[in-house]
Each structure stands twice: as structure tokens, then as C-alpha cells.
């Protein structure tokens, strides 16, 4: 990839405070195109807080986030349109079917992916037989799949920020998701993710960031 030398997202001297506790400080990271970053650390070490700072949902206590080399706050629109964040909450409505959910998520994100692409993503992630049922009658893992189907339909975002994407998934779905992640990296995208499960993702360049080193 030609852009592999330029950084996609970069943070310098980042520190995060929650309540009266300092979660981490002095954290630097650089992530370029095609790179996979696994954020590790014990429970409560600030993994979710770091991911929320990387996508702009939270403000860091100190330090700087840069998007494609510019201060992220000054290129906010470009930053938002370049990332896709999936938190541990699924953003799935009980009263909507999987397709309605996926359409609503795409619309809210301002993403104009056509309906047949969304439908194919749901079939690919193994919800083909459950397309017409409201999400309230889906299992926890199936609801997670509805949220993750956005990744399969996504071609716009450069950076995926995934908080515990493999939670509640069976081995089949884990395989589909890790293939989608590998494909995103091969396209020149980058991924930051957290997980407590060992999952093999095919990536040419990978980093591991252990937050326990920065506490």
C-alpha cells in the first residue's frame, strides 16, 4: 500500500482519568494503513476508554490525537467519516428485524450503502434464516452478528475500532469476522480491537499494546 508509511491515527502522551483513578498515562501509538493493533490489558485497565478516545467519544485528560497527521479535532468530519466504531453495546433495536436494524444503523451513520449489500452482509454472517424475525427473539450471539454485519457491508471506513468484537460469537461467526478483518487490512484499512480470546487474524503488520505497561 502506498499510504503505509503515513499514519492513519496517532496519539501522543495520552493519559486518561476516570473519576479519581488514572487509568493510563504517557501512551503513544501510531497506526498506519494495513495495520492491526490488539489492545490488551487487565479488566479496568482502560481499553474501552482508549477506544472511545480514539474515535472522539471521550476527551483525554491530556495528550493529543492526530488523524492523518492533523490534530483530530480540527479535521473532525474527515475523522468521523473515516472510522467505524462498534462498542460492546450492539445498537440493535428489539422491535426491528436484522435488516431494519442494519438499515437504521447505516442511515444514522450517514452511510448510503444500498439495501442489497446490507442484505448480503446479513446472509454472509449467518443470519439468512432469521431475516424476518424481530431482534428480540434472537440470541445474544445473533444480535452481536447483526451489529457486526455492518463491518461486512463497509467499504468506506479506513479505521475499524472494535471493542470486544468476538464476545458471544460461535466459532463459525468468529471465522467469518476474522476473514472480514483480514480483508479490510488487505484493502489498506487499519483495525484497533480488544479481545480476551485468542483469535488468529491474518495480518501482514500487527502490534500489541498492553495497557498494563502504561498504568
Amino acid at each position: 500500500m502506498s499510504g503505509s508509511t503515513a499514519s492513519l491515527i496517532e496519539v501522543r502522551a495520552l493519559s486518561c482519568v476516570r473519576g479519581s483513578a488514572r487509568l493510563f498515562s504517557g501512551l503513544d501509538l501510531i497506526l498506519g494503513a494495513g495495520e492491526l493493533m490488539h489492545v490488551a490489558g487487565a479488566n479496568g485497565s482502560g481499553k474501552t476508554s482508549l477506544l472511545r478516545i480514539l474515535c472522539g467519544l471521550s476527551e483525554p485528560a491530556s495528550g493529543e490525537v492526530r488523524w492523518r497527521g492533523a490534530p483530530a479535532a480540527s479535521v473532525r468530519d474527515d475523522w468521523r467519516s473515516g472510522l467505524l466504531y462498534l462498542g460492546h453495546r450492539n445498537a440493535v433495536k428489539d422491535d426491528f428485524t436484522p435488516l431494519e436494524n442494519l438499515r437504521a444503523s447505516a442511515a444514522i451513520a450517514g452511510d448510503t450503502t444500498p439495501g442489497d449489500v446490507l442484505l448480503r452482509a446479513l446472509v454472509d454472517i449467518g443470519l439468512g434464516a432469521r431475516l424476518d424475525v424481530p431482534a428480540r427473539s434472537l440470541s445474544q450471539g445473533q444480535r452481536r452478528r447483526v451489529a457486526l454485519a455492518r463491518l461486512l457491508a463497509d467499504t468506506r471506513s479506513a479505521l475499524w475500532i472494535l471493542d470486544e468484537p468476538f464476545t458471544a460469537l460461535d466459532t463459525g461467526a468468529v471465522a467469518v469476522l476474522s476473514r472480514a478483518m483480514a480483508a479490510h487490512l488487505a484493502r489498506g484499512g487499519a483495525i484497533v480491537y480488544t479481545t480476551h480470546q485468542p483469535v488468529d487474524i491474518n495480518a501482514a503488520r500487527r502490534q500489541t499494546l498492553n495497557l498494563d505497561d502504561f498504568s
Binding site: 474515535c55 472522539g56 467519544l57 471521550s58 476527551e59 468530519d77 468521523r80 467519516s81 472510522l83 466504531y85 462498542g87 460492546h88 453495546r89 450492539n90 445498537a91 440493535v92 433495536k93 422491535d95 426491528f96 431494519e100 438499515r103 437504521a104 444503523s105 442511515a107 444514522i108 451513520a109 450517514g110 448510503t112 424481530p134
Partner: protein, 222 residues
């Protein structure tokens, strides 16, 4: 921008349609509260027609207050709000779409129901028309101000009481202009100024409230 406005509005309307019972509670509350007054103050037609527009307005703003606190609740609980904050579309537009859907589901039914309530209070057809028109112009402002209160109190324990303290003082001018219109008409004065003031409140609220609400939501999610 129009695209996201329409799709968020359609989404909220569809969600509400799938949970119709939620919508009926607000309407039931409005009907019940207004029906209690004739029972409480006695059936003298003269007295009832004097308090009619005030009672309708107070009931409408309490009904709004009761339901508006749930405006962002489910989106916050399931993580949709995070996705709204991360959208490339302006958050204020998404908020405005949600408020529009909310008004169509709770404000507009109150306006439609108002003539029925006016009957209980012995209002003349002219007075009924004026009362309904004030509610039609005033209730969107109630929804918009309520949305700001809802985003400021989102995720707080005891948010229900707090939203009342925050929003009710802001509702006071609307109540004065709205309920005063029928009295002014009965006294033979023009009602034009009341409508002009209600309209002005609506325009200011339309311009300011979505932005204020969006800012409050960003702070609440930090």
C-alpha cells in the same frame, strides 16, 4: 442532511408504531387529567369555560414532561446514541428528526384530542378553535424544550424530578401566552399578539434547542 433527517424520523415513527402502547399512555394521561377538573371544581358551565384553556395547557405540558424524558433513553441504553454522536451528519439534525417524530406521536394527538376536551368544559366553537390553534403552535415548542431537558438529565438518577425543575420554568411563558389567548378572545381583545408570541417562541426554539440538546448529549456521553 435531508436524507438522515427523514430516515431517523421514519425509524422513530416505526419504532413507536411497534410499541403503540407507550404512545397511548401520554394521551390517556392528558385525557384523564383534564377530565378530573370538571369532577373536582364542580359542573358550573361558566366556571369551567373560564379555566378550560389553562387546564388544557397545564395538562399538555405535564403530559409532554412525562413522556419527553424517554426521548433518548432507549438509544442511550442500547448504544445507538454513540453511533449518532459518531455520524458524519450533524447531531443537531438527528436530534431535530427525533423531536419531530416525537411531536407527531405525542404533541399532535393532544391537539387532535383537544376539541373533545373543550366539549367537557363548555367552550364555544370559536374558543375551541383558538385553544386548539394555540396548542398546535405551542406544543412543538414544548417538545423542543423538553428534548433539551431530556439530554441534560440523560443517565442521571432521579432525572425525572430534575427535568421538571429544569424545563417547567421555561414552559411558563408558553403557558401564559397559550392559555391567555382564549381569555383575550372572550374579553373582546385581539388574539393576534398571543399567536405572534407563540410563533416567535417556536422559531427561537427551533433554532436553538437542537443545538443545545446535541451539545448536552456529547457531554453526557463523555
Amino acid at each position: 442532511m435531508i436524507g438522515v433527517f427523514l430516515s431517523v424520523m421514519r425509524r422513530d415513527l416505526l419504532l413507536a408504531w411497534r410499541r403503540r402502547s407507550d404512545m397511548l399512555t401520554t394521551l390517556g394521561f392528558f385525557l384523564l387529567v383534564t377530565s378530573l377538573f370538571p369532577l373536582g371544581v364542580g359542573p358550573e358551565p361558566e366556571q369551567l369555560s373560564h379555566i378550560a384553556s389553562g387546564v388544557m395547557w397545564v395538562a399538555a405540558l405535564l403530559a409532554t414532561l412525562l413522556s419527553v424524558q424517554r426521548l433518548f433513553e432507549s438509544d442511550e441504553a442500547d448504544g445507538t446514541l454513540e453511533q449518532m454522536l459518531l455520524s458524519v451528519e450533524p447531531l443537531a439534525v438527528i436530534v431535530l428528526a427525533k423531536v419531530c417524530a416525537y411531536w407527531l406521536l405525542t404533541g399532535l394527538p393532544l391537539v387532535v384530542m383537544a376539541p373533545l376536551i373543550a366539549l367537557q368544559f363548555n367552550l364555544t366553537p370559536d374558543e375551541t378553535l383558538i385553544a386548539c390553534a394555540t396548542l398546535l403552535i405551542g406544543s412543538p415548542t414544548l417538545s423542543l424544550l423538553g428534548a433539551v431537558g431530556a439530554s441534560l438529565t440523560l443517565g442521571l438518577r432521579g432525572g425525572g424530578a430534575l427535568i421538571a425543575l429544569l424545563v417547567l420554568p421555561l414552559y411558563a411563558p408558553l403557558l401564559i401566552f397559550g392559555a391567555g389567548a382564549v381569555d383575550a378572545w372572550r374579553a373582546g381583545l385581539g388574539v393576534q399578539s398571543h399567536f405572534a408570541l407563540l410563533g416567535a417562541c417556536l422559531l427561537v426554539a427551533l433554532a436553538v434547542c437542537p443545538l443545545a440538546s446535541a451539545a448536552a448529549l456529547r457531554i453526557a456521553q463523555d
